[in-house]
C-alpha cells in the first residue's frame, strides 16, 4: 500500500520531515552555504559571518525566557524585526536562544536596540554567560521535583550582566533540571542544577496497582520479570509476601533516589519537605581544554524556595566569582578546577564538607555504585601533598 492509497490518517505513519534545505534555509544562507571563511565578534551577542563570496551575515543572539517559552504574540514581533531590519529569517540555537539574521553591522546594532526595548537581552558568545538551559518542569512535566524555569529566571536575573557585557574567563553555561532525568542536558556542563527528592519516595498504595500486573499474576510471575523491579537499579523495589498477598515494597535503605521508579509510574510520591537541588560543577561537552567530562557534585542538597531561590543563587554566584577571580583567560570552569585540583577548589569555595556518597554507602547498596567514577584519586592525593 503506498502512502497515497492509504487512509489519510494512516498515512501519518509516513512522517513529513523538514528535510528540504532549499525550502527552509534563508536564501542568503543557501548562497553562502559551506563557504564561510572567517567570523568577527562585535561585542557580546553579535557575530559577523564572512563568506568566500564576499557576503556577510550578521547574527544577533537574543536571550529567551526560561525553557525557551515564548508567546506567539512576541514571536510575531521578532518576525517583524527580522523583516524590517533583517534578511527575513531568524534561527533558534541549540540552547534555545533566538538569532536574528541581518546583513550589516548597523542593522545588527539596530536590531539589538529594538529587542532590548522589548525587554530581551542581547548577549552570549566567547567569554560570557551563553545562557541557562531549563527543562519544562512545573510548566508541563509530571515527574518534576522542583521548578527549573523559575530557578533559571532567578539565576538569569542574578547573572544577566555576564550575558550582556561583563567578562568571564571563558564560556559559562548552566543547565537547570527539575528532576534526576536531567532533561536540561545531563551534567556534562559548567554548572548543573538538578532537582531531587532528598528522601526515598513513598508508594501510593491506592494507585500502584496500575503499574503492576493483576494481583493473581503478580503472585506467580518471577520477581525479575516485574517491570518496576527491573527498573530500580539497586533492588530497593522488591516483592514481599504479606499473608497471602504479594506487594511491591520499597526498602528505603537501598534507595539512592535515582527517580527511575517515578519516571515509569505515577504512583511514587515525595514529601516537599525533603526536596532540594544538587549543584554540580566542572563538566563540559566540548573537546576544548582537557576535554569533555561529567560534572561533580559540589553541593548535594539545597532547598529550592520559589520565587527567589536565594540559597541556590548565592552558591552559583559564589562559584562564578571564585572562578572569575582565579581562572586564567580562556579557562572553562572545568579546566580551572582540573588545574588547581578539586581540594584546592573546595578550599577556594570555602566548602568544608564534601559529598562523597560512594564511600559512605553501606555494603548492600554497592550493586548500583560500580559505575561511579573515582576520577583523579591519586592525582588529588598529590594535589593535597
Amino acid at each position: 500500500m503506498t502512502a497515497a492509497s492509504m487512509n489519510p490518517k494512516a498515512a501519518r505513519l509516513q512522517k513529513v520531515f523538514p528535510v528540504d534545505l532549499e525550502k527552509f534555509l534563508p536564501e542568503r544562507v543557501l548562497k553562502n552555504y559551506g563557504q564561510w571563511v572567517d567570523r568577527k565578534f562585535h561585542g557580546n551577542g553579535i557575530i559577523e559571518h564572512i563568506s568566500a563570496t564576499g557576503d556577510r551575515i550578521f547574527t544577533v543572539k537574543v536571550g529567551m525566557p526560561p525553557n525557551a517559552r515564548i508567546s506567539a504574540e512576541t514571536l510575531d514581533k521578532f518576525a517583524d524585526i527580522a523583516d524590517s531590519l533583517g534578511i527575513g529569517a531568524v534561527r533558534v540555537t541549540m540552547a534555545g536562544n533566538l538569532e536574528i539574521l541581518t546583513d550589516s553591522l548597523d542593522k545588527a546594532l539596530k536590531i539589538k536596540e529594538e529587542v532590548e526595548k522589548m525587554g530581551f537581552p542581547v548577549g552570549g558568545w566567547g567569554r560570557s554567560l551563553w545562557g541557562i538551559n531549563s527543562c519544562t518542569a512545573y510548566l508541563t512535566c509530571t515527574t518534576a521535583v522542583v521548578d527549573s524555569p523559575s530557578i533559571s529566571k532567578a539565576l538569569g536575573d542574578a547573572l544577566a550582566p555576564y550575558f550582556k557585557e561583563e567578562a568571564l574567563p571563558a564560556k559559562l553555561r548552566i543547565f537547570v533540571s527539575g528532576c534526576p532525568s536531567m532533561c536540561a542536558g545531563g551534567t556534562a556542563i559548567d554548572i548543573a542544577i538538578v532537582g531531587q527528592w532528598g528522601a526515598p519516595p513513598k508508594i501510593r498504595e491506592e494507585v500502584i496497582g496500575m503499574c503492576l500486573p493483576p494481583p493473581k499474576a503478580l503472585a506467580k510471575i518471577p520477581e525479575t520479570q516485574i517491570f518496576l523491579v527491573q527498573v530500580c537499579p539497586t533492588g530497593a523495589l522488591t516483592l514481599r509476601r504479606e499473608g497471602d498477598k504479594v506487594k511491591l515494597t520499597l526498602i528505603g535503605e537501598k534507595c539512592i533516589n535515582c527517580a527511575r521508579c517515578k519516571e515509569n509510574c505515577d504512583a511514587f510520591d515525595y514529601d516537599p519537605e525533603n526536596v532540594g537541588v544538587a549543584i554540580l560543577v566542572g563538566g563540559k561537552l566540548s573537546n576544548t581544554g582537557s576535554g569533555p567530562r561529567l560534572a561533580r557534585v559540589l553541593v548535594p542538597w539545597l532547598p529550592a524556595i520559589p520565587p527567589k531561590y536565594e540559597e541556590i543563587v548565592a552558591v552559583v554566584k559564589h562559584v562564578v566569582e571564585v572562578w572569575r577571580q582565579n581562572a586564567k583567560p580562556g579557562e572553562r570552569l572545568a579546566d580551572f578546577i582540573d588545574r588547581v585540583g578539586w581540594s584546592k577548589f573546595l578550599e577556594m569555595v570555602g566548602l568544608k564538607e564534601v559529598h562523597d556518597y560512594y564511600q559512605r554507602v553501606p555494603e548492600f547498596a554497592r550493586t548500583f555504585l560500580a559505575f561511579r567514577g573515582r576520577g583523579d584519586v591519586y592525582k588529588r592525593l598529590r594535589d593535597a601533598l
Binding site: R12, Q14, K15, V37, P149, C183, N287, P307
Partner: protein, 410 residues
C-alpha cells in the same frame, strides 16, 4: 501525586500563586510568566504548583490516531483549584533551526489558532514544542504536515534528531551536518522507529560539525563529530601577519595547546604542529583563525552510549572510530548496527550506554559487527587494576597467542 500537606484553602492558594507569579515577572531576565500571560496556557496551575512545591500535573491520555510518539498530555492534579489540562506536541525542527519569517508566521498562526499561543522554541533534544488543547490535536497534526513538518519524538523510539548549524553559518564545519540530518530523516528505518516506540529505551542521534560539539553529540546514544586527521593547517604567512599585528602570541599558542603539540621556531619564525599529538582541542584554531584551520583530511568521529542517567548513571559517549564526511549512508547503516544487539538483548530501560557497560565495549562492537577506520585498540572504558579474574579459556588463548608471537620477535 498526592496533595502536599498544609496546602492553604482554595482562595488563598490562588492568591499566593498569583503573588509568586507576579514576582517572577520582575528582574532583568526575560520572564516566562510574562510570556505565558499572553497565551491561553492555564497559568494558575503553574502558580499553584509553585506554592505547593510539587508539580501540579498528572498524566492524562489524549490519543491522536496513528500518533504514538510526540504527543504528551496532562491533567492538573486534583488539589489544583479549578483544574486544567495541557497537551503538547514535539514537532520536528527545521534543518539548522532556521525559521524564515513566512514559515515562522505559519507556526505562530497554527499555535494561536489550534494551540494556546505558546511555543517552546526548542526542547533540549531539539524539537519545536507546541502547546495545544486536546480538541484541536488532530487538526494541528494536519496543519503541521501541511507546512512541511510533523509530530514525533517521545517514548522508547528514535527521538528528534539534532544537528549544529554547521555549514549553514559556521566556518568550522568539517562535514555537512544539515545534510546528514536530512538524510537520516529520509531513511525508512529512521521513520519507522520514530513512529513506533519499541526499543528498550529512547535513542538519540546528534550531529556536531567539529570538536567544539555544539550539538552535544557526546551525550547522544550515537553522536557524529567532525574532526580531522593529523595537525591543523597553518598558513605561515597569514600567521606571521597576525603575529606582527599583535593579534596572536605564538609562545602563548604553544604554551596553551593542551597536548603540547605546538612548537614555535623563533629563528625561522615558523609554527610547527605535531599531528600525532594534537588532540583536536581547537585551541590554536580558535585563537588564530583563519591562519590556523582544521586539517584537510576530514573525518567524522563516531561516539556511542552517552546519556544523562539510565541505569548506571551519567555517561559521555565512547569513541568507536571514524567515517568519511561523505559516508552518511554508512552512518545510517552503522546506527542500525549499533541499535541491533541493544534492541535484541538489553533489559527494559537500559540506555545503549548501560547495555554497553554491561556487556563491555569490545564485546558490543563484536556483536554489532562494527568495523570502522581508526577503531581504538583499547575499546575498554576502564582498564583493570585488579590482577585476578576468572577468565574463559578463549580469552586466555588469545593472550597466550599474543605472547607466542612475541617470543619469535624479541
Amino acid at each position: 501525586m498526592s496533595a502536599p500537606a498544609n496546602l492553604p484553602p482554595k482562595e488563598e492558594l490562588l492568591n499566593r500563586a498569583e503573588e509568586i507569579l507576579k514576582q517572577l515577572e520582575g528582574g532583568p531576565w526575560p520572564s516566562h510568566v510574562s510570556e505565558l500571560r499572553k497565551t491561553r496556557y492555564p497559568l494558575h496551575v503553574y502558580g499553584v504548583g509553585l506554592v505547593a512545591r510539587k508539580s501540579p500535573w498528572g498524566p492524562a491520555a489524549v490519543k491522536v490516531e496513528f500518533l504514538n510518539t510526540g504527543v504528551l498530555s496532562r491533567w492538573a492534579r486534583d488539589w489544583v483549584p479549578g483544574g486544567g489540562s495541557e497537551v503538547h506536541f514535539r514537532v520536528f525542527h527545521t534543518p539548522g533551526k532556521f525559521l524564515r519569517t513566512d514559515f515562522l508566521r505559519k507556526i505562530t498562526k497554527i499555535s494561536r489558532e489550534l494551540g494556546v499561543g505558546l511555543i517552546e522554541l526548542v526542547g533540549q533534544t531539539g524539537a519545536l514544542v507546541l502547546n495545544l488543547t486536546p480538541e484541536t490535536a488532530e487538526a494541528m497534526v494536519d496543519a503541521l504536515r501541511e507546512i512541511g513538518t510533523d509530530v514525533g519524538g517521545s517514548g522508547d523510539a528514535i527521538r528528534a534528531l539534532n544537528a549544529c548549524v554547521g555549514p549553514a553559518l559556521c566556518e568550522f564545519a568539517l562535514y555537512d551536518t544539515l545534510k546528514w540530518y536530512a538524510e537520516f530523516y529520509k531513511d525508512k528505518r529512521v521513520n519507522d522507529n520514530i513512529v513506533t516506540p519499541s526499543y528498550p529505551y529512547k535513542f538519540k542521534v546528534k550531529f556536531s560539525g567539529c570538536p567544539l560539539d555544539c550539538a552535544r553529540a557526546q551525550r547522544g546514544d550515537i553522536g557524529f563529530i567532525g574532526v580531522w586527521e593529523g595537525a591543523p593547517e597553518v598558513d605561515q604567512e597569514l600567521l606571521g601577519k597576525k603575529i606582527e599585528a599583535g593579534e596572536v602570541d605564538p609562545e602563548k599558542l604553544a604554551a596553551n595547546c593542551p597536548s603540547g603539540a605546538i612548537t614555535w621556531d623563533k629563528e625561522k619564525k615558523e609554527l610547527r604542529i605535531d599531528g600525532t599529538r594534537c588532540k583536536k582541542s581547537m585551541h590554536c584554531i580558535r585563537a588564530a583563525f583563519p591562519a590556523i584551520k582544521p586539517g584537510k583530511k576530514r573525518k567524522v568521529a563516531v561516539v556511542v552510549g552517552g546519556g544523562s542517567k539510565g541505569r548506571f548513571g551519567p555517561k559521555l559517549g565512547w569513541f568507536i572510530g571514524y567515517l568519511e564526511p561523505d559516508q552518511v549512508k554508512d552512518a545510517i547503516d552503522l546506527t542500525f548496527k549499533v541499535i541491533g544487539p541493544w534492541e535484541a538483548e538489553a533489559q527494559p530501560k537500559y540506555r545503549l550506554g548501560d547495555y554497553i557497560m554491561h556487556l563491555g565495549l569490545d564485546k558490543f562492537i563484536e556483536k554489532a559487527g562494527i568495523k570502522l577506520e581508526g577503531m581504538p585498540v583499547s575499546t575498554a572504558k576502564m582498564p583493570d587494576e585488579v590482577p585476578y579474574a576468572v577468565l574463559p579459556k578463549e580469552v586466555r588463548e588469545r593472550f597466550l597467542s599474543f605472547a607466542q608471537q612475541l617470543k619469535g620477535r624479541v
